[in-house]
Each structure stands twice: as C-alpha cells, then as structure tokens.
Symmetry: C2
Subunit: 227 residues, 2 copies
DNA sequence: CCAAAAGTGTTCCGTCTACACCCATGG
DNA sequence: CCATGGGTGTAGACGGAACACTTTTGG
C-alpha cells in the first residue's frame, strides 16, 4: 500500500455503545453496562465497546460490536461523537467513537446478556463509570431525546405491537415528564402511520387495551411527526 | 509507556474544519475552502484540516488547526462527528473528526487567507469536494442551524456591534427563509441580553441604524432564547 | 363489587403570523 | 425631492395545555 502520511502518529480507535432499552415492567429507560474485565480499569463500570478493525468502517465496527453483545442486527444506531482527550485512557492513547442504539429489550437473549456480564441500569441511576463514559452517556441521551421528539424512532424500543399507554410511558421516560393522556392520544390519532390493530392486549390491564403498530412504509410517504 | 492493547491496529487521525462566516456585504452564509495542495487529491476543493498530534486532544487539535489558518483563538467550535469509511482516503486509512467554527469574517486577516489559499464560498454553492467533505459540510450545517435556533451563538458571526437588520439577514441566511421584520424585532426586544447601544451605524443606511450588542454576562443569568 | 387501567372532547389561553405606513437622511 | 433602509403595533388564527368522567373486567 502506498503511504502518503507516514510521518504522522497513529492512534488506537475504539467504539463504545450506549444501548438504550425500555423496560415495560417498570416503564424506565435503561442502558446496558457491565464491569470492565480488562486492564486498565478492570472492575469499573463501563460501556460495552471494542476496537475498530482495519477492514471495517466506524459504523460497521459499531454494528459488529453491538452484534457481538446482543446477537441483533439491523438495529437503529447513531454516532454520538469522537472522544479524544489525552487522559481518557490511562494506558496508551485511545480515541473512542461513541454510538447509541435503540433496541427492544425482549429481542435480547437473556443468556447472551449474562454471558457478557452486562445489565440493564436505569438511566437516572447510572453509577460512576470508567474514563469518560458518563459523559458519553449524557451526550447520547441528549441526542436520543432530540431524535425521539422529531423522528419516529421510539418504536425501536417497543415490541412490534404496543399499547398507547406503553408508548406514552416511553415518551414520559425519555422526556422526563408526565404527559396528558388525552392530548397524547389526540396527537397519535393524527399520525396515520401509527395503526390501530384488531388485537387486544389483556396482559397489562383487565379491560384490555388496543394494540398499535408502527407502519414504516406509511410513514415515508406521509412524513409529519411531532411529539 | 505501558502498552495494553498492542495487538490492535492503529489509524491516522485528522481534523477537518467547516468554518462558517457571514458576509455582511451580500448577506450570505459562507465557508472557507481551498484547493488541496497535497496528495492524494491534489487540486481538488477541500476543507482545511490537519493531522492530530500525539500530544493534543481532538478539541485542541481542532483549535490549533483553526488558529493555523486564521490566527484566531477562543473561537466557537463544536464537533460534527467522526468520519471513518474505509474508502474515504485513497491513500492509507485516515479517520477524520470534523468540527465547525463560527467566526467574524472581519477578524480574519486577509493576508493570512490568501497565504493559505482559501476562499469564502457561498454555502448554497459549494462545489464537489475531496472525499467525504461535502457530507461533513451538510452535517455541520444542520447542527449549526439547530444550534443557532436554540442558543445565542449567532453573534459569533457578527461584529461586536451590529444592526438589527444585519442580525435578521444572518438568521434568514441560516434558516433559508425570509423573516418578518416586525416579528423579528419583537422577539429581540424581549431578550434583555441583546442590548441597544447609543451608537448609530451610518454605513449601511442613510437614516442610520441603532447598533446592538450581545451581553454574554446578562445571558447566563437570564437564559431564554428562541429564534 | 371494586380496584385498575382504557378510552374519549371541549374550552381557554397564550403564541405566532400576517400585515402597512411614517421617518430620517444622503445624494 | 426622492430613493433607501429604519423603525413601529394590532388583530385574528392557530396550536398547545388543562381538565373529569364512563367503561370494562379480573379477582
């Protein structure tokens, strides 16, 4: 390979994933973190991450890392940014590119989760983490909240079929404030791409709640979203 | 130095700067670009950039790069993101972190500009550029627009003293739509941190226009912005 | 029979938008 | 004296926020 820039120093590149999930049982937004099992920083809480290979783009590396952890593919992911302070890694210099992902918790194989030693932690109760990971999380959260408000990505955090109350609880968890039920439902009704099905969910309530579905196809043609 | 991760491949890191300026003479938003003077891609239009040194953080590297080009410091800069597609650099692999900056055009020494061979180009008329630089610009522009709407950073693009018409033209250029003069001024009047001075600008009009100033101190105490 | 969640409209208020004329001055 | 940009207020439309009761059914 031709080398044009040989006089410059190279650095190690890693990706770190902020994996958001929505816990339907307690209506809390959570992320996956675990105890670091390598030096430096062994034993500290940490995001799941890995090094970027020479044969993959940053996005591909993030995809692969997430797949390693969860076995899932075609997951909604967005870059948070690059983190490159000199002191961010006590060993040698590592620049890390953070990504956030939105996954449906129920699609995540519990076995895999345990194997990797990660757990779902309430976004409001994230412990002190390794290096700059807390900063990554707060930046990711801000971006994710912004995205959720302006684009229909919240459905990535829910099952294919969901009740309106579940959807509302999700938006409440993300926005950090309770919402008015009637106003919320009024807005939903105006979005044709959120379709009511004939199915009834009898788990979460005695009376039963209508199940809804996000029609991605209908959205691309439609295009008006605001929550 | 202790080496923890020696088995992983390292990559070259660069920063690229999207430098926004507002041209008061034609009320257009512009960025600084030049013809690339190194291989690969010699002669193609390109953002100004440079490689990250081993002894500086990413933010510091972006600062330094901007200072090299403009001689300016304490400039408003924000990271756009990391760009790391495999094919983005025809030579060897280079991952680039893009930053955007907002500068007051008149603070930029014309001699320095010519020395570096860069010019101000209307944001609406950016030519095809080297590698993924066009993508960087469009991403930067989106972030910058968002920032301008929600935080008082537009003043970075103007002289310390400015007329309301200049401010309005700036927001029109950024938003891509003309604004109503009376509504615009009404909003300004509600922001106490935009202070009217006793000074009159006689350059841009015969009658003369009041000059305003952004009071940064008053803002941090105040905190309500919406344009 | 009652606890618990689902479902459903209307009114009010504040915000945003549209809109037109007089003023001051340099040339 | 007129062309040019500076400066000012109001009314109507619209969208967002507040708000309470009935329904269904499992236990």
């Amino acid at each position: 390979m031709t080398t044009f820039y040989s006089e410059f120093q190279k650095v190690l590149l890693s990706v770190d994933c902020i994996i958001f999930g929505f816990d339907l049982s307690d209506s809390k937004l959570k992320i996956l973190i675990g105890k670091r099992n390598m030096d430096p920083g062994r034993g500290e809480w940490s995001l799941y991450g890995g090094f970027v290979r020479g044969d993959e783009s940053l996005d591909e590396s993030a995809d692969r890392t997430l797949r390693e952890l969860t076995g899932m593919h075609d997951v909604f992911m967005r870059q948070v940014g690059a983190f490159g302070n000199l002191d961010r890694d006590p060993g040698e210099r590592v620049v890390s590119v953070a990504y956030y992902a939105l996954i449906n918790v129920k699609d995540y194989d519990e076995k895999l989760r345990q194997k990797h030693g990660v757990e779902w932690v309430n976004i409001e109760k994230i412990p002190q983490m390794y290096s700059d990971h807390n900063i990554m999380v707060s930046r990711a959260r801000k971006l994710m909240r912004q995205k959720m408000k302006t684009e229909p990505v919240g459905f990535e955090l829910l099952p294919d079929l969901f009740t309106l109350t579940q959807l509302q609880r999700l938006y409440e968890a993300v926005g950090g404030e309770t919402l008015d039920k009637r106003n919320f439902r009024k807005r939903i009704k105006e979005m044709d791409f959120i379709e009511k099905t004939e199915l009834i969910d009898k788990v979460s309530s005695k009376r039963g709640a209508a199940l809804y579905r996000f029609n991605k196809k209908a959205f691309t043609e439609d295009k008006n979203f605001k929550l």
